[in-house]
């Protein structure tokens, strides 16, 4: 009995931090319609600043906490002012979601550069000795966490309900256009909501720091659990955030305590899916309904790039010829391995391109499919001596099953939920690869994976692997080119831009979303398998969630919706860190920055921009405006 109470108390403490984060999500969502994935990173930023002031500089607790809070607020202000607020009017809502994923990566990159990758812990505010209440031991930090969370929640409530600023914020939440007409500076309110959310996340982080292992990338767990809290409680509702956070905290601790900590992520995913099926708007449904299921392309300027058949064939043939002779031009044994990895990752990103670039569905969990493909193939080939090809097929089958289960729930719902369900899926696979030590080898990884082989021929040398991967890519590009240029591809694009119009023309929206997710799962799984065979080794962090974010950065930087474009993004982010080893610590930061910059200044990506420039330079000029249709009402 005592044990149960102990666990519930632990859950409430954990949950109060989720609740604080959930409130931040809610606040920004209400004011802007955007899920801000960077939220969790501010939590860790607050805690690490606390560490620096309190431990490294030796300040007393209170001044250190105040300085850490101010520091988080200032950083939030900088990010909000330079990235979030300027991006909001330019990008559609679902791109904003990916943009905030970029911001999360960016902040994590800063944390990595400043604090490195080792774990930190801050000392409890008032000693280690727990207090005993009726025989139940409660760590004193628990009182601090609960008290600070309650205070932060109450202060936010007071601010929103009882002040002019709160009134203006709520006006923006109800109707941005009307608020603007009433003379409210909506951009300023957006910034205020963003900084407020960052600040309370930081405060939550400072409070929870002493009972958490702080690493630069712990933030995404807080992002994930904070978001699931708010999704369970009801997006945009004050009560929902608090109840959702506390409930998830208790459920998570109970699962971890009685089943296994591995189960906690699985439980979170399960809870999310059940609530979404049963009550899509959360337990405390409320707040204005917002359309976030379409990419709302009107707000995006993206040049339409179409390379005509002949030009494309010539360009493709030259490019392919260059890739075929490339290995012979390189100094032996240097870059070839990196090129093979570039090709393998490109296969995975190609799938993401179909899902995101064509069908407009955001997935933050492609690493989950990479891991399934990688581990299934590796385990079957290593431990059971099955032919690699069979392992690849088994990985694909398992990935397809997972994709199908995810799509059962998510295709009926708005785009945000697919993004977050896939993120949770990715984190679940992460914890399984680490936790199922007997099957996966745990954190130390799986060794002795054989080379890929088909019918007795082993692709054991880098050069054979290079041509294998190149061959697969050529086949995939041709197949996808055929499909994307025909009815199937047009239907996907129609789903991306206007689901209702697509359905009115007979497009089965759910089936096409599912098909796109399935294609992305198959290709990611294939890439994961090849990855394992290439390295002869597979460890959890090689196919963990940061990969999902990296793949998105590669896709966006290369050019969404162009099949060949992502290759340039993959090459940039794979080859640069290899060529400039000392810069490796800046890789995460660079990925985040690249993603953010591309979304702001180069929405069509490097390849898209180059192709558009070429088309303008050498292509036919725009047709003249025809007399009879030129005078319609301005659109």
């Amino acid at each position: 009995m005592n044990e149960a109470i102990q666990i519930v108390i632990g859950g409430l403490l954990q949950g109060s931090v989720f609740a604080v984060l959930a409130l931040g999500f809610s606040l920004v969502f209400r004011v802007t319609g955007v899920i801000n994935l960077a939220q969790g990173a501010f939590c860790i930023l607050g805690a690490l600043l606390m560490y620096s002031f309190q431990v490294a500089l030796g300040w007393p607790t209170l001044p250190a906490a105040l300085a850490a809070t101010l520091g988080t607020a200032a950083f939030g202000f900088a990010i909000g002012r330079t990235i979030f607020v300027p991006a909001l009017p330019r990008l559609p809502v679902s791109s904003m979601l990916v943009m905030t994923a970029g911001m999360l990566t960016l902040v994590e990159g800063v944390l990595l550069v400043v604090w490195g990758s080792q774990p930190y812990a801050t000392p409890p505010f008032s000693g280690e000795a727990p207090v005993s209440i009726w025989g139940v031991l409660v760590p004193t930090q628990g009182f601090w966490i609960a008290g600070i969370a309650a205070l932060a929640i109450a202060a936010l409530w007071w601010l929103l309900q009882r002040t002019d600023l709160g009134m203006a914020l709520r006006a923006c939440a109800e109707n941005r256009v009307a608020a603007r007409l009433m003379g409210i500076d909506v951009a300023r309110m957006t910034l205020v909501s963003f900084v407020l959310a960052a600040t309370i996340a930081g405060i939550g982080g400072i409070a929870v720091g002493p009972i958490t292992s702080l690493e630069f990338d712990t933030g995404r767990y807080f992002t994930n659990f904070g978001f699931i809290s708010v999704a369970i409680g009801g997006l945009g509702t004050f009560m929902g955030s608090v109840v959702g956070g506390l409930g998830l905290g208790v459920a998570e601790q109970l699962a971890a305590g009685y089943v296994s900590s591995l189960f906690a992520n699985g439980l979170a995913l399960g809870l999310l899916l059940v609530v979404l099926l049963w009550r899509p708007n959360g337990l405390f449904a409320g707040g204005p309904a917002r359309r976030s299921d379409v990419r709302d392309e009107q707000r995006v300027y993206r040049a339409i790039v179409r390379i005509d058949g002949r030009g494309g064939t010539i360009f493709g043939a030259i490019f392919l010829a260059a890739l075929i002779v490339l290995p012979w031009l390189l100094p032996p044994g240097s870059l070839l391995d990196s090129l093979v990895i570039t090709g393998i990752l490109f296969i995975g990103v190609l799938g993401l391109d179909v899902l995101m670039g064509f069908a407009g569905q955001v997935s933050l969990g492609q690493s989950g499919f990479l891991a399934i493909g990688g581990y299934t193939a590796a385990i079957l080939a290593t431990n059971y001596d099955l032919p690699p090809l069979l392992g690849v097929a088994a990985g694909i089958a398992l990935s397809l099953l997972c994709a199908f289960l995810l799509s059962l729930v998510t295709t009926r719902l708005r785009g945000h939920y697919l993004a977050l369900a896939t993120l949770t899926f990715g984190l679940l696979v992460d914890s399984l690869t680490v936790g199922l030590t007997e099957t996966t080898g745990g954190p130390s990884g799986l060794v002795g994976i054989p080379s890929f082989s088909v019918a007795g021929y082993a692709f054991a040398t880098p050069i054979s692997m290079y041509y294998l991967v190149l061959g697969i890519i050529v086949v995939l590009i041709l197949a996808l080119l055929g499909a994307m240029r025909s009815s199937f591809g047009r239907a996907l694009k129609a789903v991306r831009t206007d689901q209702t119009a697509a359905a009115a023309l007979g497009v089965d929206v759910r089936r096409h979303k599912t098909a796109a997710l399935a294609i992305s799962a198959v290709l990611a799984s294939l890439a994961g398998s090849l990855y394992a065979f290439q390295f002869h080794f597979l460890s959890p962090e090689m196919v963990a969630t940061p990969r999902s974010f990296e793949m998105i950065a590669m896709l966006v930087a290369g050019g969404e919706g162009t099949l060949i474009g992502p290759l340039f993004g993959v090459a940039l982010l794979t080859l640069l860190p290899t060529l400039f080893q000392p810069l490796a610590v800046y890789k995460t930061f660079g990925e985040g920055l690249l993603l953010v910059l591309c979304f702001m200044w180069l929405p069509e990506g490097m390849f898209g921009a180059a192709a558009a420039w070429l088309a303008r330079r050498f292509g036919a000029s725009r047709p003249p405006i025809q007399g009879s249709t030129s005078q319609g009402a301005a659109s």
Binding site: S486, K493, A501, S628, T629, G632, A634
Partner: protein, 271 residues
């Protein structure tokens, strides 16, 4: 019902029976019954808020109806989702032209042909000759339609570059690509100038003469009176009257309901 004029077929293309929908306290559609004869061009008119677009949304499954029935060639379709109704041959357009941004004009048209494409995605991936042939014949069909609506010069322009009138025409052409049996157009003339409206009238006649049944919600009186075989007049969610354009123009109730004053020129000869 008495208005089944030029139809010899006893089964109407589209039949609404007692269709009702309330939004809170407002009755947007109150026991609406009428039939659209096969091969006819039926216009639905009425003042703002009369429930015209609501009827479209109920018929095409965008909103659930509270009561009533809708039959497409005798088959009940009420309660089916939008996509399934489209697959049965009932295609609609929207009040604000919902063309696909991010696609060219021709691609928008071809995207409309989704229902008619036989080749599977797998066949497309394998570049099977049958799939390529089908794609070529679709493109030819699309270009013919572009010619018909006068947008040939815009073929490869981004669809969002079209002026509003062009976007409306493109949406109608895209709906035709789907090969509809019954086509529902929601205010096709909104945002069009007089010259464009005249072109639209010719286009609507051509569509009907090609055998497609049309139901059109429209504000533009001269367009309606010039092309419709049958006019349904709605006010406050109910059918006021229905009949031929001539009969409607002389109906006192229509004049009162629709314009609220007596001496207005319903023929719409000069705006």
């Amino acid at each position: 019902m008495s208005a089944a004029m030029n139809s010899r077929d006893s089964v109407p293309a589209l039949e609404l029976v007692g269709l009702s929908k309330r939004f809170g306290g407002l009755s947007a559609c109150d026991r609406v019954s009428f039939a659209v004869p096969d091969g006819s061009l039926t216009a639905v008119i009425g003042p703002n808020g009369a429930g015209k677009t609501t009827i479209f949304n109920l018929v095409t499954g965008l909103y659930p109806a509270d009561d009533g029935a809708v039959r497409l060639y005798g088959e009940p379709i009420l309660g089916f989702p939008l996509g399934r109704i489209a697959r049965l041959g009932l295609i609609r357009t929207f009040q604000s032209a919902r063309i696909y941004p991010g696609m060219t004009v021709l691609e928008n048209l071809l995207a409309g042909a989704h229902l008619r494409v036989r080749a599977s995605a797998i066949a497309e991936m394998l570049w099977l000759p049958s799939a390529r042939r089908e794609e070529r014949s679709l493109a030819a069909k699309g270009e013919a339609l572009l010619e018909l609506v006068g947008l040939t010069a815009w073929r490869d322009a981004p669809a969002t570059d079209l002026p509003m009138g062009g976007q409306k025409l493109l949406e109608v052409a895209r709906a035709l690509m789907a090969g509809p049996r019954v086509l529902l157009l929601d205010e096709p003339a909104a945002g069009l100038n007089d010259a464009e409206t005249a072109e639209l009238a010719a286009l609507l006649r051509a569509i009907r003469d090609a055998g497609v049944t049309l139901m059109v919600v429209e504000h533009n009186m001269s367009l309606v009176m010039g092309v419709a075989d049958q006019v349904i007049v709605l006010d406050a969610g109910s059918v006021v009257t229905s009949g031929s354009p001539r009969a409607i123009q002389q109906d006192r109730r229509v004049i009162e309901a629709y314009v609220g004053q007596e001496d207005l020129d319903l023929a719409g000869s000069a705006p």
